[in-house]
Symmetry: C2
Subunit: 296 residues, 2 copies
């Protein structure tokens, strides 16, 4: 089947490489024409455990996107999603759309398209884009997918191919819990590390930061339906496993990029607002990150 | 009368210069012997509005301090006060002790010495120490003093000399309100600017920072007896007047020094605790600054 991947960031490049290597007919659509030209000319290089893998990938600018059947993967940041959905127009939707945004901020947007076949994905891989045509697969994980609305015309018939592959896909039934668990981890680790400008591990080893993390965690889970103890264990485990890493939000702040704070803490504040709950720390950190973004 | 000034920081040097220039017999006691030697050898230089003023000041290491009558000015940071009070021993206290610490964290320490003649001072001057024997008078203000316990054996008879001088002293009756007002300003501006690493003015011009400042302000005044509207106006005015300045806490953080967070936010948390009130933002910021101090 045909797969269109929208977005030439690290996750878009990672998916392009792996879906292509599994025999799918992949076309990658990028926002910048230069990136599409570069990938068409040079191919796409994936680095994994010190090895380089080269792939010839069809790449086009997003303006050339044509409605089609098959699978369309939206691998753009949440803050670009609305604009991209307009660009690709929605008519084509005979196939299936897979949304790979971080956080849960995009779910309200998906509400509008519930008559279509929508999948949501939770990416547990780490990937680092080093140039327009090169990506490093830094952390091996799974791509968890779930049906959000309609039916899954794609993976139902081909899931086995992926399950055993180097890019394992797992179908989950309770997407809310899977997403909420990941959201809590992001909502706690990302703003604090970006704020303190420290590696993830410092949140465990610095007793002051640790207590702040715990308070922020308690606020966060108060508006989500999750197993509190299980998620806290997960937060600690991930801080420990990624102790030497700098979080994506910290990197965004350091490079003067827009962060994903809206998709993460912004979603939590929206939920809190619906429930008439005031989250003072989350509000404070949300505003702090938005304010720091303005300084750039 | 004799004046002993304890502490060779910016405020100790500033006081030494001005009290000396007003004809008092000043001895400056420093923690480090080298600083005392340097001041004895080179004199003390005060810079004001681009002019340099030289003074010959008696300077001795604090180990040479002798109990005496007259005025003893304690111009050390709050976190050094307890140690310094032990060093000078308390026997001498026939005269008057003047405490010039920032914040209100030192008041609980003063409780123990209520049988002595204690004055507390609120320094509204700006001063920057540029070497062991040089200080710039950066912001002209007043030294407000109030009787904390006992009587004022010093300024009662000589206040007029100071009122009209280049180093004006004002006696206030309600020391709590004067100190609390300054405390709120410090508790709001200092941790936020240290955290965001911005000049004071950014707290007014960045709408996200401004809203955080307002929330932190509301928390802070909830445990103090102050006129809320008046103090908020004062916070805004000081942010505006010092828009280009970097706060002392930001400078401490940038230079890897210990901050005055205990004297400022620490005091507010102690008050909140007495009143059984939970201050989530103040707690968060207190821990954040303590955690950042640990990183150095």
């Amino acid at each position: 089947l045909k797969i269109s991947i929208i977005g030439g960031g690290s996750i878009g490049l990672l998916c392009s490489a792996y879906f292509h290597s599994l025999g799918d007919e992949v076309t990658l659509y990028t926002r910048r024409e230069e990136q599409a030209s570069e990938i068409s000319a040079k191919g796409l290089t994936l680095y994994k455990n010190g090895e380089a893998y080269h792939f010839s990938i069809n790449a086009l600018p997003i303006s050339k996107f044509q409605p089609q059947k098959g699978l369309v993967i939206l691998a753009v940041k949440q803050y670009h999603l609305e604009e991209v959905l307009k660009l690709i127009s929605i008519k084509f939707l005979e196939g299936t759309l897979l949304f790979l945004q971080n956080g849960m901020g995009h779910l309200s947007l998906l509400e509008k398209f519930k008559k279509y076949n929508l999948l949501i994905g939770i990416v547990e891989h780490g990937a680092l884009k080093t140039s327009d045509h090169e990506v490093i697969h830094t952390g091996h994980g799974k791509l968890k997918i779930a049906v959000y609305s309609g039916e899954d015309q794609y993976f139902n018939s081909s899931l086995e191919k992926f399950t055993q592959s180097k890019f394992p896909i797992e179908k989950v039934n309770n997407w809310y819990e899977t997403m909420a668990n990941k959201l809590v981890v992001n909502a706690v680790i990302n703003p604090l590390t970006a704020f303190y400008r420290v590696n993830n591990g410092q949140l465990l080893t610095n007793p002051y930061f640790y207590n702040n993390m715990k308070d922020l965690f308690n606020e966060t889970v108060s508006v989500l339906k999750v197993n509190k103890q299980e998620v806290w264990n997960n937060v600690e485990m991930i801080c420990g496993k990624t102790a030497e890493n700098r979080s994506s939000m910290l990197k965004d702040i350091e490079h003067g990029h827009i962060t994903e704070i809206d998709a993460i803490s912004g979603y939590i504040l929206t939920e809190a607002n619906k429930q008439n709950i005031k989250l003072s720390l989350t509000t404070f950190l949300y505003r702090s990150i938005k304010g720091i973004e303005r300084l750039k």
